[in-house]
Symmetry: D2
Subunit: 441 residues, 4 copies
Amino acid sequence: MLHEYFPEVTKPIEYEGPQSDNPLAFKVYDPQKKVGAKTMAQHLRFAVAYWHTFRGTGSDMFGGGAFERPWQSASDPMERAGDTLRAAFEFFQKLGVDYYCFHDRDIAPEGSDFAESCRNLEEIVSQAKVLQEETGKKLLWGTANLFSHPMYTHGAGSNPDAHVFAHAMAQVKHALDATAELGGENYVFWGGREGYETLLNTDYRHEQEQLARFFHYAIDYKKEIGFEGQFLIEPKPAEPAKHQYDHDAATVLSFLREFDLLDHFKLNIEANHATLAGHTFHHDLTVAAAAGKLGSIDANQGDLQLGWDTDQFPTNLYDAIYAMLVVLEQGGIGSGGLNFDAKARRGSIRTIDLFHAHIGGMDTFAKGLVIAHKIKVDGKLDEFVKDRYSSYSSGFGEKIMHGKVSLEEMEKWIGEHGDPTPRSGRQELLENIVNSYIFPG
Amino acid sequence: MLHEYFPEVTKPIEYEGPQSDNPLAFKVYDPQKKVGAKTMAQHLRFAVAYWHTFRGTGSDMFGGGAFERPWQSASDPMERAGDTLRAAFEFFQKLGVDYYCFHDRDIAPEGSDFAESCRNLEEIVSQAKVLQEETGKKLLWGTANLFSHPMYTHGAGSNPDAHVFAHAMAQVKHALDATAELGGENYVFWGGREGYETLLNTDYRHEQEQLARFFHYAIDYKKEIGFEGQFLIEPKPAEPAKHQYDHDAATVLSFLREFDLLDHFKLNIEANHATLAGHTFHHDLTVAAAAGKLGSIDANQGDLQLGWDTDQFPTNLYDAIYAMLVVLEQGGIGSGGLNFDAKARRGSIRTIDLFHAHIGGMDTFAKGLVIAHKIKVDGKLDEFVKDRYSSYSSGFGEKIMHGKVSLEEMEKWIGEHGDPTPRSGRQELLENIVNSYIFPG
Amino acid sequence: MLHEYFPEVTKPIEYEGPQSDNPLAFKVYDPQKKVGAKTMAQHLRFAVAYWHTFRGTGSDMFGGGAFERPWQSASDPMERAGDTLRAAFEFFQKLGVDYYCFHDRDIAPEGSDFAESCRNLEEIVSQAKVLQEETGKKLLWGTANLFSHPMYTHGAGSNPDAHVFAHAMAQVKHALDATAELGGENYVFWGGREGYETLLNTDYRHEQEQLARFFHYAIDYKKEIGFEGQFLIEPKPAEPAKHQYDHDAATVLSFLREFDLLDHFKLNIEANHATLAGHTFHHDLTVAAAAGKLGSIDANQGDLQLGWDTDQFPTNLYDAIYAMLVVLEQGGIGSGGLNFDAKARRGSIRTIDLFHAHIGGMDTFAKGLVIAHKIKVDGKLDEFVKDRYSSYSSGFGEKIMHGKVSLEEMEKWIGEHGDPTPRSGRQELLENIVNSYIFPG
Amino acid sequence: MLHEYFPEVTKPIEYEGPQSDNPLAFKVYDPQKKVGAKTMAQHLRFAVAYWHTFRGTGSDMFGGGAFERPWQSASDPMERAGDTLRAAFEFFQKLGVDYYCFHDRDIAPEGSDFAESCRNLEEIVSQAKVLQEETGKKLLWGTANLFSHPMYTHGAGSNPDAHVFAHAMAQVKHALDATAELGGENYVFWGGREGYETLLNTDYRHEQEQLARFFHYAIDYKKEIGFEGQFLIEPKPAEPAKHQYDHDAATVLSFLREFDLLDHFKLNIEANHATLAGHTFHHDLTVAAAAGKLGSIDANQGDLQLGWDTDQFPTNLYDAIYAMLVVLEQGGIGSGGLNFDAKARRGSIRTIDLFHAHIGGMDTFAKGLVIAHKIKVDGKLDEFVKDRYSSYSSGFGEKIMHGKVSLEEMEKWIGEHGDPTPRSGRQELLENIVNSYIFPG
């Protein structure tokens, strides 16, 4: 590595096991260790989020940038972008993750006009391609930033001004080109300003139809260029908009169904977005998976008592276990992965804090994987659930489930069999069983 | 009236106008007054909720019944049910509302077995039919209570036990019969325990399929008996269940689309349920209306700082204006109405408080109607919105909206026309305009 | 035991260690095991909540009782109360907890007038005293139920009617007598309806002064009868009242300071009440402990995405660790304990579920204790914190902390020393350290 | 005016009455109109918040500045500050408000070191003094920004580093000097980062003691320079910090009592901060007023369904009525005022939107004042409340309230008088009465 942006990390982070007290080692994550038929790395497919880790400044609504990042010191924007890219690949290698994710404007600066912005993007993409080849690192997904520029204040695809719509589509075109060029395995749509601030100035129906049009155009172009990656929509209920149209998994599925888009998309479920919508992470993963649409995961963590997207690194073992149960149940995350859409706290100002943060997230999900795998192998929870619904698998219940019993017959049957006998749902026992996998430490 | 349960109200409540300080008079609601082409009564179609107004006891999780209701004093359950029915019709007449709504178990007591419960229901329905004919009062909607009995603890249609499913369907059959017999204009499904307490014991996908089956059975039976009323689903996100499947309007629409049920249902939007889901009442009404599915309204009010269904009577004028804007925009509430699914506070222990509560709700919505109508007639808000989207109505924007422009063409067009010019959304001005209809008092 | 109410539990629950898969065994809690200088039992002082465990019915706002409890079957109220008491002591012995807690109305039924209620209470207290002596079980705390009876709808001590105030005080008198008679180590005040529904009918200042008077009367009576137990106030922000005066730890401390009550009270912090107030459990424990006022704990767990008191059994290991860190830091819970103010879910209808629930809570806190103890012994977290504030321990910082530097001198010092150098707060590293105690399982 | 920054407003905003549809006129606010003994202007004492109105850019966490402000175009920071100041005074005059509020860093730019920052502040203060004299405009309050600079990330007075503490105090010194120099009527402390992100790295007790020291130093300096303005603390529960120490009114009062600071402070209650703490605006105003500590108001509005400080302009008439009821009850806002700590939405990009926003807020509070005054004059609500507590004003109730009845006597009295008769709290009736002041429009 020509320039060392992380000199405090002198060698790649390695697995040292649970007894190690080296903060720059993995306690659980051991990339080549088999868990069932796959290695931990194959199961988890971790990705680094370019925007937070390399472009984040620690700023919030009450204060500007707090981090000093050596890769952000050059005065020329393109030089800065190149430095940042090299810092990123140094980080990927030292941390030992295989994937990263970006928005177009994360990796390349806005130019003086759209054409220059596109040229900037192409230049950085060509540099990234070289670095990918040199290091073996891969792009999990790319996307276009359609929310930061003032022109997108009232939305991109849902903007009341067709001029903005056209600009957004042109930007998507280039972001798709860039993602394809770098072999991105997915392309994500997060509609941060696709929503409204007040219904007083909003034609809700019109904006829904615009958005449907927006996605159909993207599908057309994807086919045109032969991009094979998976399209993903990332739900979020609010922030920045008062209300975002991609509110939660169910709302997105409804939209996709209404506008004949269901075959073309899967969902990218973010923990903190699910909880902002009033759901558990586990819930929104389940809703997506039940529809066959769980495509990828933004592995972060919110603060359930704060009403904004805190984007913390995931450290809660319970959430990791539940997430991995859903992933294992559906046979893996497919072309998706676990993207750390998370940022070090404003007070964690050092570059070394970026390592602590990612190591903690990786160990938490590795531990979650190990436990979820044990739970599946042991089968106690699955058996309980299977048994609970068994009345629908034969006899009268099976006929009911297949629509073959009339209401009159059901009434007659109740007359003969009386009221059902209540059964315990055993919630406390099942919670104890989950803890029995955690407590032996 | 044979027995006067409300002797403190010596004559029907009448409109006395805004200067009256008689608490037992309407200040705004004047049933025969025309607002546009329809009378206030035709617009608003108010209904009384049988469960809260006649069966409510003021109990909460920390204390039992606090209300003494003379119609609940008889020791024989059927005698009590008959007394309650007569009290109800006295109330409807004195208050001057045309409609009421009930669950099967509100009007008739549970028997010692299902057959007796059915006979009880039939007996009370026959009494209600006589009273309806005598008074001209009508049934807005009926429904089955599939959540109070312990057998429904783990759900009705979504219960893991097929035996419970059969019981629920048999109960729906009778509730549909009762509703049809009384000329109910709608039938509502509120799935209070159709949801889960913990995903650890839940097969989410199986329960969704069960619920779809449940609704298809109901549709079949509706056709069988020739019931012409509208089927309605009432969304709610949680409570009593940790998570309810009919979370909000969007979630219900997604479910209806997925399981081929969309043609058979509309939505009954409740203000307090919308706000518990993190939406404004205005929002969920808009979502339902945009899908052509706003069928009826539960006109109550929650406390946005309390996390449960407080079911307060609606007194917030802003919410009433926004609701009536949506209703007027879609040309009226159709066969639905405004049902006061609201309860007097536990501390409002007197029967006279029931009059204060309903009068307040009726005046609030009448005022909301008057202002919403003025706003529509004046057209300032509508014009602003129409103008805001006008770029899609002609030229390049129109072509975009119809899918006739490629991304390459859009990029070229941006190259020629440059970045769009941002426009103000004018939220503060529009909010001032709404207040300009309220402030002249 | 004369009557076995829990025949499915044939012998007392025992410690079998982490590898046991007997659901009726402790995996972690081993009462006689030493953790530091004290046994687990001495550290944790678990108590069973009489109201939930023996009087709970599984009812909620949408359905009545769901549990069948054999000890609640007698038709005579006093016979039922006696049966319940015997069931309770059978449960305490089989579970192996040393303490219990009750409200007056939990253990003895309301009579036809106040005098009879008092006689009922005395009779049951005399029975309980015999059972305590026979079994060695003890009363952690008693209290009066001043919220269930309709007369308390608008509060007890804060009721606008002095007649109600007098009744509440008379009831407190007897509850204090009962607690003293049974050797209760504390007496708790939870002001469930000491608050308001609407400020429109409330004289806030007057109610605060009433409450202060209420507590002073209780202190006087405590002295009069020579009761040595600790007085505790239990904060909760709302529910049943829209707003409760004992909102959170800080609010209660403010009230105690304002009305010269601070010396006479400590706080009983409930996890679910803290989280309903928007705080972590850890936070409200810390606030209480920092004031030297952490007297006891209601060890339960809420659902952070539901806005009411779900009173779940505690199964979250993180919360247990943080709670025990605060307890260990202050040298133990003193005369208080960990009371399971928690209820089995409505769907957990069997009596065996009560065992699962308590075992899970006890194991969770035992594990929390073990880890918190290790963290304190290792000292890494404490050292980090101590070092972080070290600038105040000497030199200019020490002088500042003691108020000995003028603002002019500080400005001068800044002129000489320049701006401070930011330091990382190391949040991610510290979170990883906590997980390093959990993950080795 | 030399440079017109607001050329679209060609003359001062005037009162035109409720029928006007000129968006640049007041519909209700008529500064010289008498409401009781005082004019509207004297009652309301409106102030413009310098930071939002002149320094706000429309940026949020997902996008940078969206507003183009002509007064922010100069490249030299001090020239820009001077331009901004002149724009501000043009705005005050055209809008017709008498007061403004600022942070030190709003009006003058940070220099290369602390000394230069101080010189910058002094220079702008001298310019402001001239403009105040020329226009008659006044400073409601000043304050120091102790949260934006990275050095304050872990707090100012509560920072673990004494070096930061010293810097903060030096900054407070100059902000106090500036406020005094401009005749500020108050000085506000808002502790945006006085709190914690995680308790894992926090010594809560130490930080509380630091903060107490911080305030005592400020009091000392206030006395030293003879500043006569009122010190105010502004509560907020969170944001930016995970937990802020000045959580709500009750928490601040507790802190002031504990550390012997109560005599030196009043509270500045912000609507949006109250609601973020889970209280109504009405509640926190009431708590402050009941302690004789309601000093000033930040008149804005939050979105109760968004979990961050949206700082919207106040347009909700109900909240304005309730606020003015509290203010009138305590005899006015004293040396405080109604400061619009509110920002135009990101989409309201034009300078004219600033006028719409302020006009809406002023009209809303003017209407709230008019109605609150009518309610007080009519006396219906006050009489209801007075009557409700009348049992404490004489006889047994009066003796109870004065501590002159023993518990034995209360029990005896209950034996003689029996149980109290419940009374209705009449919440619905009282809510209808409030609406009866709004509906006549």
